[in-house]
Amino acid sequence: MQQKLAQLGGGAHALATQILGNADDAADAVQDAFETVLGSPESYDAGKGPLRPWFMRVVRNRCLDMLRRRKPGDDAADLLHDPAPGPEQSLRQEQRSTVIRRAISVLPAGQREIIVLRDYMDLSYAEIADVLEIAPGTVMSRLHRARLALKEALEIDGK
């Protein structure tokens, strides 16, 4: 279980960062989610579906709890920051990553999370509906709107 959860850590952190707007808070949220799941592993029923969307839902709920507890005016989408580039990545790829992160950061939280769930984590529409607790039929239209918004943000950024 720990091994599988560790593999989900990066994606979960990306999702939490997009919801909370802050990489440090996101790390706390993912850590809390790990503790919750590891504290009661029986809460996950493998017979009912894969671990990844289930864990993403736990992480998302944790993030929403943290957002509720935040003080007014502390909603920090502007705290999204670019992490330092790693030496192993090419400069071009890093630059593209930076542009993508910047463009995603200007989107509303709902659009940020659906883009991360689909395009970054590669969840299916059914899994996304489950994580976001929305009707499966609305995923495609929401995602499409989010992508159009991201495309526009990238175009504005490129000008």
Binding site: Q2, Q3, L5, A6, Q7, G9, G10, G11, H13, A14, T17, Q18, A23, A27, V30, Q31, F34, T36, V37, L38, S40, S43, D45, K48, G49, P50, P53, W54, R57, V58, N61, P83, A84, G86, Q89, Q93, E94, R96, S97, I100, R101, I104, I115, V116, R118, D119, Y120, D122, S124, Y125, D130, M140, S141, L143, H144, R145, R147, L150, K151, L154
Partner: protein, 150 residues
Amino acid sequence: MASRTKYIDQHVDELLSGYIDGELTQQERQRVDVHCEACAECLELRDELRDMRRDVGDARLSEIGEDKWRETMSDTTVQVTRGIGWLLLIGGFLAVAGIGIYEFLIDPSVGWLEKLLVAVIYGGFAALFISVLRQRLIERKSDKYKDVEI
């Protein structure tokens, strides 16, 4: 033929996203294909969205790698020290409370009525504590995370 003309005339909008995600039915895919053959605008948008999706997938949105998470989860030192801390705290509290109650009960300078009144007050505190503890345990059992099922 009529449906083919209809497909050409109507923009496919959100179906483009479903198309690049492989989430459409065969009929829907056909509709997108037919439309994009005739509509340069939608064809361009489809390709742009596909490239953008690939770029997002390749982007680095988290700096914390798998090894770091594994390390954090298996940090037994933290778990053990936390457990010992709670054990010492609760054990110490119970010991002090026990000694205090014992001393109070055997103190001859305090009358039985006073002892009874103090016992009632502390009994009230204990009842409230048990009530809150019970509520927390029930909440924990019906934790929303437990409802998170696939």
